[in-house]
Amino acid sequence: MNLLGHRLSVSAVVGLSITAINIAAVALAPWIAPYGQAELVGDVWAAPSAQSWLGLDNLGRDILSRLLFGGRTSVTLALLITVLSFVIGIFLGFAAATTRRWVDIALSRMVDTLMAIPSLIMALVVLSVLGTSLPVLVGTIAVLEATRVFRVSRSVAMNIVVLDYVEAARLRGEGLWWVMRREVLPNALPPLIAEFGLRFCFSLLFVASLSFLGLGVQPPEADWGSMVHDNATAINFGGIAPLLPAAAIALLTIGVNLVVDWLLSIHGRAHGEGT
């Protein structure tokens, strides 16, 4: 099989299908979910049945429906956070590589400081001080993730700005914005796309961890992390309820990682001219 003119490996096909099915299910949640996400349909922790394929949760809500709606929240949040962190990280990373040395030093040391604090602790502190709301949640994680993106984009850009075509653009009198957008960005794209997939997985896990700790998405809104939290006690008497959202997180993470591996393998290979 081929995609974008490149051969697909078995793992790439698996990864792409997992990701595609996940995204489709999550996007279509309101239409394909059998029940509403807050709807009480039966006994607490009822076993799977013909009416509710995956059983019911700690309040008697349908787990399948909540997984679909919860995925909607989790994936959307993770995507939003990743996009935001890339916008911040790439802009600052390229600026650090392209402009004067002191800008680079100032930005890099700031990022080092942020990275020195464990991000989960940092996020907990910020969320408890500013209160839990979606904008604060997204903003906080995006800034923390942006430090990683900054490092990657800075080092990629460092290798590009020394090339003659960037010098040619500078000698022409081009401004910083043009150099970053037209000369550096297109050539930095392949490693950054791969990084995007990885950062998406980390954001997904991050949101899930915060929700699990009760500081992320607030009830009654479903979310994979809080679903694990809500149903955690079921594990004591052999219920599968907390394992299902956890499995959903794991599956999507694996799927995206397989796609990323494939993307990396394409760009790792030299193509075009032979030497």
């Binding site: 003659d164 040619a168 000698l171 022409r172 297109p186 050539n187």
Partner: protein, 545 residues
């Protein structure tokens, strides 16, 4: 014949590309090499020279494979050997000397350690004997203080010395065959001559057979008895060195010879007719940190004039270009452009000032953004400097393509879809798009094959006549200088030691360094190296007396 050491017959080497296509790199090559004989392999890049050289070791680069033919080493079929058999052959019976010594040595080990490695690995001698031999080889290769030379690390010796140390490494197992792959190409001319003389003497004394791979016909002719001319993986011509040089049979060979010999230069007009001064450097010095790399340089480029800046690597000629462009502010001195002083900093220069000075680089691969199409590469300076509408920009870009003899359908191509020469043409067009008064050409032909380089020089010459642009032509190649320059400035260790019209600088009485430079350029005759070395020897004696 009994002393035949290597025979290759019907060699065919193929490469498998990423999407499964099989390309033939080398086809139908027959050659034989006798003890004590040096065979030169010559051709442009992609001719298969190195591929054939490596095949003698039954080795191919990744994704390549020997698909047919026989390789006999001393009568034994190398292709039929198992891994252990080949391992015994490589290094010990057939040794390889690569182009870049700096990339081939381990920077963390001393030279002696690395020169002794092969005899020790092959269990040919003990450590003490290997060391003695290394010292002996250093002495034969004319390296300074051979007893202690090997204690140094690769970064502590010069490029020419390192290249000779690599020859010592290759010779450490007394191989029967030496494969020399462009061993002097990365060196300056004055260094090249020393290395060339040392290599030739060593293989003559030891009666080692050698394959000498190079793109420079004049260099090969000094070392090889026979020369094989290759093109696109096939043999064009095989003959005695003298015959190839003076009576080439094939059209391709004669073109190579003609380009290398250089066409006779039409007499340049006298210096009196110089036009208006475009660029004037007055006592300009530049430094990296505390190190002065450009000292008190005074040169001028006038309208419609080509001024060559010549020097060996490290002479500071590229730094001069950076000073002029404003990439590095000068420490002292002034740079005037059309009479007005140019601000030292790039950021302080106006767009108009930037437009009038353009630059063309050595490596067209790196000078073009691989993600932009030709239309954008050329269109951007047009719209940036002149603010033309998209429609008129496009027409101007088509005009530019026409000017550099490329068809208009190149507009949609990316640099990856162009050949080296075409890329350099695009770089020239990009410079022309700004309608400059001065173009700085930094070694613009040194990464190109000779025939392609010749076309590029022709194009630059034509554009100068048509537009009256001035060129500052930075190069280490004196052949290029003679071909296109009106005036020349010779740089040595950051300072200009000689300056003036070509006819004056390159004719007696020479500045001593200019003479060394001029006499080091290999000439197209087989006894050039002997003559030059003899002249240098006599001079040396005369000076000592």
């Amino acid at each position: 014949m009994s002393d035949e050491i290597l025979r290759i017959a019907g060699l065919r080497i193929v490469a498998t590309t990423e999407n499964g296509e099989v390309k033939t790199l080398v086809e139908g090559i027959d050659l034989s090499l006798h003890r004590g004989e040096v065979l030169g392999l010559i051709g442009e890049s992609g001719a298969g020279k190195s591929t054939i050289g490596l095949a003698a070791l039954a080795y191919t680069r990744p994704a390549c494979a020997i698909a047919g033919g026989r390789i006999l080493f001393a009568g034994e079929d190398v292709r039929a050997m198992d891994r252990a058999g080949r391992r015994k052959l490589r290094g010990r019976r057939i040794a390889y000397v690569a182009q870049s010594a700096a990339a081939s040595f381990n920077p963390a080990k001393s030279l002696t350690q690395q020169v002794c490695e092969m005899p020790l690995r092959h269990r040919l001698m003990n450590r003490a004997a290997a060391k003695r031999q290394a010292i002996e080889l250093f002495r034969e290769l004319d390296l300074p203080s051979p007893e202690t030379f090997g204690k140094r690390y690769p970064h502590q010796v010069s490029g020419g010395q390192l290249q000779r140390a690599m020859v010592a490494m290759a010779m450490s197992c007394h191989p029967d065959i030496l494969i020399l792959d462009e061993p002097t190409t990365a060196l300056d001319v004055t260094t090249q001559i020393e290395v060339l003389a040392a290599i030739r003497e060593l293989i003559r004394v030891r009666r080692t057979a050698a394959l000498y791979i190079s793109h420079d016909l004049a260099v090969v002719a000094q070392v090889a008895q026979r020369i094989m001319v290759l093109r696109h993986g096939r043999m064009v011509e095989l003959g005695a060195a003298r015959q190839i040089l003076h009576e080439p049979q094939e059209d391709y060979t004669s073109r190579l010879v003609a380009v290398r010999a250089g066409t006779p230069v039409p007499p340049h007009e006298a210096a009196a007719s110089r036009g208006e001064a475009v660029l004037e450097l007055n006592g300009v010095s530049g430094a990296y940190g505390a190190v002065r790399v450009v000292k008190d340089v005074t040169i001028a480029v006038h309208r419609g004039e080509t001024v060559a800046l010549v020097g060996e690597s490290g002479s500071g000629k590229s730094t001069v270009a950076r000073l002029i462009c404003g990439l590095r502010p000068p420490v002292t001195g002034t740079i005037r452009f059309r009479g007005a002083v140019l601000p030292a900093q790039l950021s302080a220069r106006s767009r108009e000032q930037l437009r009038r000075i353009q630059m063309i680089y050595q490596m067209p691969d790196m000078a073009l953004n691989p993600r932009q199409r030709v239309a954008e590469i050329l269109g951007r300076p047009v719209s940036f400097y002149f603010g033309l509408s998209p429609d008129r920009t496009r027409r101007r870009v088509e005009e530019l393509l026409h000017l550099i003899d490329l068809p208009a359908n190149f507009l949609t191509r990316r640099p990856g879809e162009l050949s080296g020469g075409q890329k350099q043409r695009i770089c020239i067009a990009r410079a022309l798009a700004a309608e400059p008064d001065l173009i700085i050409c930094d070694e613009v032909t040194s990464a190109l094959d000779p025939l392609v380089a010749d076309e590029i020089l022709g194009l630059l010459g034509r554009l100068k006549r048509e537009t009256g642009i001035g060129y500052l032509f930075i190069t280490h190649d004196l052949g290029t200088v003679r071909r296109i320059a009106d005036r020349v400035a010779v740089m040595l260790q950051g300072a200009v030691v000689a300056e003036g019209p070509i006819a004056t600088v390159f004719a007696p009485p020479y500045h001593p360094y200019t003479e060394a430079l001029v006499s080091s350029v290999p000439e197209m005759r087989v006894d050039w190296l002997d003559d030059t070395l003899r002249r240098w020897n006599e001079r040396g004696k005369a000076e000592r007396l």
